[in-house]
Subunit: 195 residues, 2 copies
DNA sequence: CGTACTGATGTCAGTTACTGACATGACAGT
DNA sequence: ACTGTCATGTCAGTAACTGACATCAGTACG
């Protein structure tokens, strides 16, 4: 690598946008080959052409780099909630239907790779749980804002998240071929049968 | 109780139970006065009269000191599950009833103090979520072992944990005076109404 | 045209959670 | 007493984060 290349990379790294995106890609790649614990933030930063300090300006901590996209997920879920509904369960199911759009066949491979990394690290599972829990909190708030009593809202929200978790887990399981909506329908059917 | 039993207990207290217990008490006290982030492991260890290294021999990480008791909780919950049941929801509700014994009035104050610390720190919330999730996993396994299909078992387990979480949150809320079983009954009633 | 301002980045020093390796000292059974 | 075990101490090291300050491309504005 020549001096000018280094200079170029330095410039690109510094002024070309998308540092967060590059960091995310670099991180996923390194995690797959070296494992999460076997990869330092300094390595990720170097692979993305930035400094360790810059990594922490984009992500609050090392784990967060794997949850970069999740913010749009919560928005999609919440936007799919009907404007008003007396039946909290029905509302939550509508939200689930909207969120399903984010889990198309073209993303299953990436989701599997990501999930394999998370499954191998308790700390990452904690973070995933927290994200889901925050979604449940948002859901609860939305439902409560529609006049549903807090306990019913919380239960409906937790149930909805449980359905999503069960669906997603099945969807990314090795060998599974059914589409996300298909699995979701089965989970919902079993939930109805349960009650 | 024989003399040897007393000796044994003394030994156990000095060498095993003692340090962990002292560390736990010291940690809770310091967290209350200085906050979780404002307290270093070295401080906790010093307050308990041991070394920082010893802290990490008893607890895998700093957070874990606040979840010392939780191991018995899962055992109590699981033991209260009926030996065999075709109805997973009924089985889970039985488990909930058994676990309620751990949340008597005499522990409400301590639980409130602990929960206040956890509520103020996202990292601690993550750990709590993980513990609950592990409980759901154990529950699922137990139910599946009773011949219930995996998806129904997972849903019933998640639902049971959601009921517990909702009940516990209400129970430790400031100003709440109803007993744990009373609140649990109301949550279960609302759950039935929801379905 | 230049000058000041902004925003993302670099640099650097420091704290603290956590880990591995080895030493010590009390107790248990022999 | 002798020896093994187990909780603890000691010490050195790694890596995740944080705060303070410097730098420099691009932009707005005179």
């Amino acid at each position: 690598m020549s001096a000018s290349d280094i200079t170029m990379m330095g410039i690109m790294a510094r002024w070309q946008g998308g540092a967060a995106e590059r960091l995310k890609e670099a991180a996923l790649g390194l995690f797959q080959t070296q494992g999460y614990d076997g990869t330092t933030v300094a390595e990720i930063a170097a692979a993305a052409g930035v400094t360790e300090r810059t990594f922490f300006r984009h992500f609050t901590d090392k784990r967060e780099v794997l949850f970069f996209d999740q913010q749009s997920f919560e928005g999609t879920f919440l936007n799919a909630l009907p404007a008003s509904s007396a039946d909290p369960i029905a509302a939550v199911i509508a939200g689930l239907g909207g969120a399903a759009a984010l889990f198309g066949e073209e993303r299953r491979g990436w989701s599997r790779a990501r999930q394999a990394i998370i499954a191998a690290n308790p700390g990452l599972q904690e973070r995933e749980l927290l994200k889901l829990s925050l979604l449940a909190v948002s859901l609860t708030r939305e439902l409560a804002g529609r006049g549903i009593d807090p306990i019913s809202a919380a239960l409906a929200a937790e149930t909805g998240v449980a359905v999503f978790r069960t669906t997603f887990t099945t969807w990314v399981a090795e060998g599974e071929t059914r589409s996300f909506p298909e699995i979701q329908d089965e989970v919902l059917e079993r939930l109805r049968a349960l009650l």
